[in-house]
Structure formats: C-alpha cells, structure tokens
Symmetry: C2
C-alpha cells in the first residue's frame, strides 16, 4: 500500500447563512491552492467543476454525518492503490439541507431529527454511569470556549456551565446547548502520494491509520452506552498505524451531542471505561485543548459534508504547528473520529507528522 499525505487544506467559515453550495466548495478549494506550492489544476486526478479541474476520478461520496471522512478514505484508497496520484477531497453543506434528517428518524416518535437517539443515549448514560447534567454541560462549555479561538467556528460565544444547564430543554435529557449546530460551510484537503508530497509542501502529514465499521442501524438496548462501531474502528486504525492510544497528542471527536464526547473518549481508549466525565472535567479545568481544539461539532458547527474534512484540516494544522492559539504543544500524532447514523457507523483516522 502506498503512503498517502495531506498536503493542503481549506476551510470556509461555518455559518447560518444560506450560501450556494458551489460558492462554499469553491472557497475552501481555492484555499487548497493557497496552502500548497506548485499546485496547478491539471495535477489533480480527482474532483470539482468550478475550479477548472478536469479529473480522472470525480464522484460524490454520501454517508450522512461522516461523509467527509468517508470521502477522505475513498481518496486515500485511490492513491494507495495507484489509480490516482493526487486527489482533492472537498465537502460542503448548506443550513437546512433536508438530507441532514434520516428518513428512518421520522418514524421513531415525535422528533424528526437525530435528537431522538441522542436523547436515548443520554438517558441510558445517566442511568448506567450516574452521569450528571453538570458533567454533560462541561463538554459543551469546554467546546464552546475552545471555539472562541477558531476563526471559522459557528459559535464565538462562551457559555457557563450554569447557562448550558439552564438552556432550553429539547427533550427530558437534552438541552439545546448539548446539540451541535446544523450550518453552512465547506472544507477541503489535498491528498497525494509519498513521491509527490514534497512537491506540494515541506510538511506533509501522513494518514497512517484508518479504521471503519458500520453496524446494523437497528441498535439494541445494550449498545446505548457504548459506541461499538467506534471501538472497532479505533482498534483497526491504531493497529494499521502501529501506534497506541497513549501516543495520541490531539483528537477531533464527533461530539454531535455532549454525551457523544463522554462516550467517545472512553471507546477510543483515550481514557479508561467509566472515567469519561472526570477526564473531560480535568481537561476543562486545566484548559487542556487535547480534545476538540477547534471547538468540536458543538462549538464549530456541523455542516454534514464538511465536518469530517474540517476535523482532518484541524489535525493537519496541529501537527504542522500552525494551529495558532489552538496549538497543542509538540503534537506529533493526532486522531480523527467521525460518526453517522446514531453512531452505528464510525470512521477513525490516525495522522502523523
């Protein structure tokens, strides 16, 4: 398998504005040219109309909330197989896109939105681990705070734990500030082979581990307090990268709802089982940005097609020591965790400088 690097990237601001999807894609794609050297349109084997690129391979990858990371893995496979050498992976979403709601969500109770499963997860987590509303609110407070230093974030407003706990109840167990924001935005990355990487950048970031798992969407009661697809995906990614969770310096985690971050830090083995809440509380208290430095989905916003790619952009910037105020010192190894469909599908990437 050929080695594959991230060599360029771009991000629009994530906003509630109703912008044309083409403008969003073009803006983040344009930045890819700004963050690389020697790149011209004819050097790209994969993707995108308005940019004047005439690629070999060009298609849409759709996988709900984890479309972005799935597209990155698809791009990786084209390069690793030798079918392509340089691939532009670009994702975007527009606020109010009807594709953000699963058809089968509509049949499950009164909420025509992923809120129904987040509510079930939260209730189950509270029951099994005695998780408190304050512990859930800390996730949101931390990520909103971290988003303040991300110029592209949807939210630039800090919230106190009390404000979050007292924000509007969406269900018995979910407050509005526990939820990520649906929004408009676009992110892009340029992937290329080892042979070509040095041409485009002096600081290639390698995708060294990939894990993916999709379980049946008909999850059972037993699985409401664990992200079983994430456990499998993470183990596969660590194995492929020949690394361990202890070596991860910075992680982008799929906090579509606050409970997801508490579950994910455990299921990705970043902390022991049943210590997720105290682990996140400690990060918050010590102002350690290790988890979701750009503000996560809760702080930065969640434009479905862009999210997984924007997570890769953040880890790339962190490993290149270019994350400015968000920078984790001496970050050498990073992780991306992107999920979809009530956490029944997970993608985990390990990136290394």
């Amino acid at each position: 398998m050929k080695k594959v690097a991230v060599v360029g990237y771009g991000n629009t601001k994530f906003t509630k504005d109703e912008l044309p999807i083409e403008s969003l894609l073009l803006e983040s794609t344009k930045q890819v040219f700004d963050t690389t050297k020697n790149l011209s349109q004819d050097l790209i084997d994969g993707l995108s109309e308005l940019s004047g690129i005439k690629p070999k391979i060009s298609h849409t990858v759709e996988h709900l909330c984890s479309s972005g990371s799935n597209a990155a893995v698809s791009g990786f496979s084209y390069i690793a197989s030798g079918l392509a050498d340089t691939v532009l992976v670009t994702g975007a979403d527009k606020i109010g896109n009807p594709g953000q709601i699963l058809e089968w969500d509509k049949s499950r109770g009164e909420f025509d939105h992923p809120i129904y499963w987040a509510s079930m997860f939260t209730k189950a987590h509270k029951r099994q681990f005695s998780t408190t509303d304050e512990e859930l609110a800390i996730v949101s407070a931390k990520n909103h705070k971290q988003a303040m230093d991300n110029p592209n974030a949807y939210s630039h407003k800090p919230y106190t734990i009390s404000e979050i706990m007292n924000s509007k109840n969406v269900t018995d167990d979910l407050r509005i500030l526990d939820c990520s924001y649906s929004c408009s935005g676009s992110s892009s990355i340029l992937l290329t082979s080892e042979e070509t990487a040095k041409k485009f950048t002096d600081e290639p970031i390698w995708i060294s581990g990939i894990g993916q798992k999709t379980n049946s969407a008909s999850f059972t009661k037993n699985e409401l307090t664990t992200l079983s697809s994430s456990i499998i995906a993470a183990n596969d990614a660590y194995k492929m990268a020949k690394t361990t969770p202890k070596k991860i310096d910075v992680a982008e985690i799929h906090d579509a709802f606050s409970v997801c971050e508490l579950m994910a830090v455990e299921d990705l083995s970043l902390t022991e089982k049943n210590t997720g809440a105290s682990y996140v509380r400690n990060l918050f208290n010590t102002e350690d940005r290790k988890i979701n430095p750009r503000g996560g989905l809760i702080g930065a916003g969640h434009p479905l097609g862009a999210t997984g790619i924007s997570q890769i952009v953040e880890i790339t910037q962190q490993l290149q020591n270019k994350a400015k105020k968000r920078q984790i010192s001496n970050a050498k190894s990073g992780l991306v965790h992107n999920m979809s469909a009530a956490a029944t599908s997970s993608t985990v990437l390990v990136l290394e400088s």
Copy 2:
C-alpha cells in the same frame, strides 16, 4: 496494485413498477450469494444494511448515470490498496427518481431532461457526418432486438426500423424510441482480491483496465460530435490492461440515446472515425451481438444507479460463457463504457477471463 476480480453478481428485472429501493437492492444482493460459493455475510468488508452485512467500509457513490461504474471503481480501489478484501457493489434506482434530472438541464430551454443535450448531439452528428434517421433507428432496432433475449430487460418488444423512425417526435431530431427508458431496477457485483477469488468462484473475471475522465460540463460546439472524455478514458483503460481495441470481443456501451452508440463505437476505437453507422448496420444485418448484447440502455432500460453495474454483470456472464442466448462465442476480453452528465464524464473498464 493488487489484482481484483468479479466473483459474483445479481440483477433484478428492470421495470416501470414503483418498487421500494430497499427491496430492489436486497433482491440483486441476494443473487450474489446464489452465484458464489462459500460466501457469508461476515466475509464482506463493504456495504448494505438489510442483508445483515456489517461492513468496514459502507458509503454511497453518486455520479448520475455512471454512479454504478464509479462505485465499482471505488470498490476496486479499496481492494487494490489493501484497505478491504471483499466488496459488495450494489446499485438501484426507482422510476421517477427526481435525481435522474440534472438541475442545470432545467435552465437550458424547454426540456427539463437530458433530452436537450441528446438532441444537440444528434443534430450536430447529422450535420457533420450526414447521418440519416435510418442509421440512428438501426441502433434502437438492434438493441431492442437483443433485449428480447435478456430476461431482465425493460423492453421485450421488437421494433422495425420503420416503426422507430415513425415513433413519436420528442424534438426535431429525437424520436421516443431513440431514448433509453428510465425505470426501476438493481444490480450487484462482488469484487475480491486475487488471494480470495478462488474461494468464491471457479471463474473469476479480472478487472484489468480502468480509465476515467471528467471534463467541464460546459462543453463547446467542437465537442458535440465526439465523446472526448470517452476517448481519454478508453485509452487509459487499454493502456492499464496492456491490450488494444482489436482484442475486445464484446462491449457494453452507454447508448442513453441512439446517437451515443454511433459516437462511442468510434471513440472507443472499436471502428474507425466516421464508420460508426456502417459498423452498427453491419452488426444488425449479420445478427452479431458484439455491442450491447443485453440490449443496451435503450432495450434493457436505464435505472441510473444500476446501469454501470448491470453492464459489468453482462460482461462477466459473457466471459464466463454463461450468457445463454446472448452469448458471444469465445469471448475472452470485454469492455464496459458508462457515461454521465451530457457525456462530459466517462468510465471505461476492460474485463478479462
């Protein structure tokens, strides 16, 4: 790059019935299990909910009329790179799916349908090559006739050249029987690595060549009588397979409209430039099924997501000598040609036994 084989396949009937997309996918997927040995759900690394498969990689590939072949190339790259070993590629479409109409088609004149570009192509072809209505009608007569021996075809009705020439005018240059049928249907293939292929079948069919090209969708006047993306894709596929057009025994060609077949047989170098019409006339007169043995899109129907995959199923059956009444004698090497978006994007595959 690892070798990749087609080792199993399935096809539903292509019909005008409004069937649920899940039932269609399940039916063609089920046949994959029937056409292989030793296959169980846990052996598949890629795809599909209802079938009880819990894959590593599972996402939708969307590329309009060539979604099917793009998904197959994506599956190929996952296996060739080593990220997956066995991938199920399954496609389906439902009659009346609004995704069959391009948004930008709607802005170009009175036809909210690909008919506008087919009409431009046909008019330009008539002007430049003095192509006659009879020559166009022969494509449709041949493919409708060949579809008679395809049990899954949408049409089982033969048409005379005169009936086709006198069928309803859709535009000045296009009759209704020059157009492929939008319909419901599903097709699936199972791809696997060289190491695993023998486990599932005694007759693996190898995907030995792949070519893809996407040009800008803003095509120019000069390009109306040639499929420039197909020329590039075909040359790349022949090169990768280390073969030549002369060695192709049987070809599935994207005859979305009759003029496409006349252009494609030339642009894929199956005959000399400006001999497409006489080449197809000769096939018709000699009852040679070399081009579109299952009836093409015109005879078999065109369920967008399934078409490219059903073309691969046909070539696989031909190279396995299992195409029954449609069999080309002694077929060793076959070609698949799948296009989208007014022929601005082409995928060409070479398959070999």
